[in-house]
Amino acid sequence: MIQFINTLLIGITAGSIYSLMAIAIVLVWRSTRVINFAQAGMALLSTYFGYEAMVHLNSFWIALPVAMAGGAAVAAFIELVFMRFLLKRSAHGAISGVAPIIATLGLLGVIRALTSSIWGGQDVRIVGPVSNVGYSIGANTLAFSPLKLLILVTVIVLVLLLSLLFQKSSIGLSLRASAFSPEIARLSGIRVDAVRTLGWSLAGASGAVAGMFQTVNGNGSFSPDSIEFSLLLVSGFIAAVIGGLDSLIGAVIGGLVLGLVISFVLMYISSSLFFIAPFVILLIVLFLRPQGIIGAKAARRA
């Protein structure tokens, strides 16, 4: 029983981090119709910003916003100087469909190589603000620590803030209108280009939080080659697809589903299925519900 509860708790915490990553993927997809495979690289870079802030200011609560701001700035920069140009150039031609995908992969490589040249290949540490030792009830230790609680609460708060922004503010209305119909948005006076940049920077900030939490939720150390970031790369995408790619709520649900499934597979089937489990889940989802759990039909079919 305690094992079951622990598996559940581990899954939910990991899943909440995947949700943030999935939200980042969804935000970019909605604003520019590009799957940003560089998102995990951007999260890595942001986590290094957070690490620098930790080194100099020694506070996780300063490091987190620093990472978010850094992530947002990097994302905005990439959208402004790179994606805009790319999408204009590759709008036509034989590989117009693949060019953005390949380009974001190229970005991923560039970011990885740059971070590795700047900070080196060795692990560096970020210490979480609270203990990661599990609470104990009676003789049992839960796999749920103050840190995990904090992560969960922060993710919930961020998601609530984000959905408030999207549903209740006029910026949110601009973001949604530009995503669903750029032309009507422009005719309504929305500067769609600027809104796209904003969408990317929100994604960058969201991915930054995912990177910071993924690191402290693990053993606290990370490097450009960390497995954690490969996992973020894949799980963010898969969670976003499970949720239907166009929906923020879907991304949250997708992240949780993915976190739980991975957690249970690892505990009850085999720990060497760590990387193959997400793939199998992805295939199952795509075959059973190609439109995602939430999301428009025929979105990804030819």
């Binding site: 006029s170 209305l173 601009s174 949604r176 209108a177 669903f180 119909s181 032309e183 009507i184 948005a185 422009r186 005719l187 309504s188 006076g189 929305i190 500067r191 769609v192």
Partner: protein, 236 residues
């Protein structure tokens, strides 16, 4: 103080969709642009609102050059475009679609006033403010599209085939509303239509486009009386 289109030529790649078109729309006037499918009406209208690029010629509204500007800026000069095919965002609610039109306006009090004005023109929208736009009927969607454009507090309204795909009774209702808007709010309207008779009946004057060129233009009554126009576009 008017819309001046002069020697306007527009290409889609190699296709010349609009060829050397000139006309003037005076303030407060309702002008119908009619022509059969593929005549270049949509292309013309999209260029006036900045969505398409012109090859040659000029187009100004109250002295503002419309040809080298972006749609999001042109709307700030009082030019509102309702594009072809019930231009609403189905994923958003009726209320959000309306708010969209006023999103660039600084004065929020005025926007609220505009909204109550619009819901009094289209009571059915007022009753459905919190429904998603894709639950509306075709006629209601067209009303919403026009309502959204009115939320931008336009001085000139560019309407692209508002009658498309609607039942005759609804068409009549929409045309009547367009006429009322022009008269009561002092709006200037460019009404693009294939439904030539319906459009000319409410219009002050008309421009007939054929294969991208102006075939005839003149007052609405003179066009209705023109035997050639009658034969080609009015069907009798």
């Amino acid at each position: 103080m008017s819309l001046e289109v002069s020697q306007l030529t527009i290409h889609h790649g190699a296709i010349c969709a609009v060829n050397d078109v000139s006309f003037t729309v005076k303030q407060g006037e309702l002008v119908a642009v009619i022509g059969s499918n593929g005549a270049g009406k949509t292309t013309l209208l999209r260029t006036l609102s900045g969505l398409n690029k012109a090859t040659r010629g000029s187009a100004t509204w109250k002295g503002h050059n419309l040809l080298h500007s972006k749609p999001e800026l042109i709307v700030r000069h009082g030019v509102s475009h309702v594009s072809e095919g019930k231009a609403v965002i189905p994923e958003l609610t009726v209320n959000e679609n309306l708010e969209l039109g006023a999103i660039w306006r600084k004065n929020k009090k005025e926007s609220v006033a505009s909204k109550s004005e619009i819901t009094s023109i289209f009571p059915r929208l007022g009753e459905r403010l919190n429904q998603r736009a894709d639950t509306l009927s075709g006629g209601e969607r067209q009303m919403l599209a026009i309502g959204r454009a009115l939320m931008s507090k336009p001085e000139i309204l560019l309407l692209d085939e508002p009658s498309l795909g609607l039942a005759p009774l609804v068409v009549e209702q929409i045309f009547q509303t367009i006429r009322d808007l022009t008269t009561s709010m002092g709006l200037t309207v460019v009404l693009v239509e294939q439904n030539a008779m319906g459009a000319l009946k409410i219009a002050d004057s008309g421009v007939v486009l054929n294969l991208g060129k102006v075939a005839v233009s003149g007052s609405a009554t003179s066009l209705i009386a023109d035997p050639q126009v009658r034969a080609a576009y009015l069907g009798y």
